[in-house]
Symmetry: C2
Subunit: 458 residues, 2 copies
């Protein structure tokens, strides 16, 4: 068993015990997690060891004081601010390797840390510290005929595994949300971000140490071996839930192989439906914003549905605005009859999450037709109606089975921070446990607390 | 594809359309689901067809009025009362076959319907009708800086699969809870109860018809082929959650093979800890009740933990009472020193759910020692403390990670009806989604409802 090797938390704590300064250990660490060293470690043994260590400290975290958890978050935020230069240096090395490896511009953008992005990470930690602690909340109790008082207490899930790709900020966000919700976390980031992730994890470890919380509360798996991911997915005894954070390829691989429950979304095929009688300016503004705010986010609109009654009033102007912004349009025949230079949308278009400046457009008869389309092609992520009619608004809200249903708002708002969750560890289109953006609350569950007075059952 | 064969709901509706009386079709049906007929059906095709039919009616059920769902439940209750004789006859045939097959007395008891048990089923349906409808409840909305109002609406999960063994009452309970919570349900009962289950499902179908709800809202899989269970477990597209209801063998088989999420508990290794300074009479009464109320229920105490300070005062008297009641005692050495004729408990005893008149007893140092034992050997089901000390009570409640944690109450209360849920579809020791007894609320989830006023993201 490779006991004290390969996880950043461990390496760091060992170094700390030897009294070295953080800046030294940080640079050593970001070197020591390079491929050659890490791949010498048996990934299954390493991940199992991480799992055991996480499970061993879960009870301590579950009963940690709110003040203690917040101190860890605030100290980690300070550590990130203080280590900004070191983080940027580590990130520069990741970026250099990635460029050598020839990765895409989009991936490079996700991987890059800037002073502003580092500041935004530490602000995220402070925001999460400022939020209410979900753990320990006790519901109103209901008294039963037996005399028993039945209540429910909110408690952590235990150990969370997070598997992500190139964004280094996930290291801070995920660790902070797990910590706030009293869970231990095992992080497995993409190999291209390994130096950045290690540097951020070192700051989290400083925060834990400052608050006297267990060092294994946040563990970053320090091997880039893919077998480590496979091992995490099978670690039912030590990991309570896996959250994949990344592209569809990662997510579907994870859900295919996982024995541990998975909180995830696969696709964000989001719709905006412009209802009969909708305010024209609102309709155009919401549709344009939903598509163009950012093309690559899962809450971006991919298909626009327009009630026949509004199509003529709305589509030509909206399409001109979208085309002028560089959005490629594909539409049904009724759309083509109203707007020039629109390619015919295929069956595949309705089922595609473009994540790009492409939009499919369909003229529908009415709200029922729109909802039927959403039920058939939607991914249960986020769907919006633009309407002035209260009955159809209520109908849409009740009957559309998506994790977020919106009225007169842009789908690009589908985001934990925008929902007041401080940050999100992901967005769930699961039906079980939690749907929509997942913050600290979504990482907890409830247990029953039953109180009697010597009560026995007759 | 064997379209209209093998599911009771279908057979029944077809017969109804031909205008035959229920009593005729009932008797035909209970004959036609005998092994020979059923096994001619391709089980995978049959289950897939059931899944598609369930999914197709899920949206209708999700938006069904509370009054309509309650009418279905009350009509089904009336149908059960009216069909009592037919149910008992169908059950007699099941019992006769089961006796021929040589099944155990315990299984026969579970299989048997009596007039009282039939009455209790219809009462259960009326109780569930009388409960609040969880579906459609909208949380308080929180306004964000963007102007968005964020709320959560409670919605059904969609399609529930229930796999159970010999108790026919599960057919009524599970169907009723799924219906109340707006879910379609696919039921797969044990082959030994097939005639009883078909007769009960026919009554549920009458209730659905009376309320104008879709006939496929409740489907009983009419084949006893084991491959049907395997097919259900893989039906991710059509079943949202599987609930196994039965012994450990069934449950572990289901969780091993399921691709669909599973709500379950494997073991009920429940503990009662008698704390230092506990009221002696309460301690004896709660421990005795927790063990002897019914040996075979998952909430029965399997291990008694006694603080050293109370062992001498409590154990001799309690053990005499338990032995006098026919309970076999196995204890640690400190227990043996205080009580005669106690066998030495082995490591295996601490980890065993006896479900029988056997109890393991351990003298522990204090509450921390007790909680360490529970963390090591418990199954996260139900654990109780008997104490007069408020600090240790709070500590036990916060730190014991079980689906139900009890204070001064007997573990045998762990039951949906006792918790005010009306009935239960099972007890969950999962960490995800729902823990403890699962009623209608546990069969729902929440989606976000986001309301703006033409709100776009900047």
């Amino acid at each position: 068993m490779h006991k004290q090797q390969g996880t950043v938390g461990l390496v760091l704590s060992e170094k700390n015990q030897q009294g070295k300064s953080m800046s030294t250990t940080l640079s050593e660490m970001t070197e020591s997690t390079s491929n050659e060293t890490a791949d010498a470690v048996d990934p299954v043994a390493l991940v199992t060891q991480c799992g055991k260590q996480a499970r061993a400290c879960a009870a301590t975290l579950a009963s940690a004081d709110t003040a203690q958890k917040n101190l860890a978050l605030l100290s980690a935020a300070d550590a990130i601010d203080a280590a900004t230069d070191a983080l940027l240096q580590a990130n520069q090395k990741d970026l250099a390797s990635a460029k050598q490896g020839g990765i895409s511009a989009a991936l490079l953008d996700r991987l890059e840390l800037t002073p502003a992005r580092v500041a935004s990470m530490s602000k995220g930690l402070r925001d999460i510290a400022a939020q209410a602690d979900p753990v320990g909340a006790l519901s109103a109790s209901e008294k039963q005929a037996s005399g028993l008082e039945i209540a429910r207490m909110r408690v952590p899930l235990g150990v969370i595994g997070v598997i992500y790709e190139s964004r280094p900020n996930v290291t801070a966000d995920a660790a902070a949300l797990c910590l706030k919700s009293g869970n231990a976390v095992i992080l497995r980031g993409g190999s291209e971000a390994r130096r950045s992730n290690a540097a951020i994890a070192a700051c989290m470890a400083q925060g834990l140490a400052a608050a006297g919380l267990p060092e294994h509360a946040v563990q970053l798996i320090g091997t880039t071996d893919r077998e480590a991911v496979a091992a995490m997915l099978r670690l039912e005894d030590y990991i309570d839930v896996i959250i994949p954070r990344g592209g569809k390829g990662l997510t579907s691989r994870v859900s295919q192989d996982a024995k541990v429950p998975v909180i995830k979304h696969l696709d964000g095929i989001c719709h905006v439906y412009i209802d009969e009688g909708a305010d024209k300016d609102q309709a155009i503004s919401i549709a344009f914003n939903s598509k163009t705010y950012r093309y690559g986010i899962c809450g971006a609109m991919e298909t626009l549905l327009v009630a026949e009654a509004e199509a003529q009033a709305v589509l030509p102007e909206l399409c001109q605005k979208l085309s002028g912004h560089g959005v490629e349009l594909r539409g049904c025949e009724r759309t083509q009859a109203l707007v020039k230079d629109v390619a015919l949308a295929t069956e595949e278009d309705w089922a595609t999450e473009y994540l790009a400046p492409v939009l499919s457009i369909k003229v529908v008869n009415d709200v029922n037709d729109a909802m039927a389309h959403i039920a058939k092609y939607g991914s249960g992520h986020t769907d919006a109606i633009v309407t002035s009619d209260i009955a159809r608004s209520r109908q849409f809200v009740r009957e559309v089975d998506s994790s977020s249903v919106m009225v007169n708002a842009a789908t690009c708002f589908a985001d934990g921070a925008q929902y007041g969750l401080g940050a999100e560890i992901g967005i769930s289109t699961n039906k079980m446990h939690v749907r929509g953006p997942v913050g600290a609350l979504g990482l907890t569950t409830e247990k029953y607390v039953v109180t009697g007075d010597g009560t026995i059952r007759h």
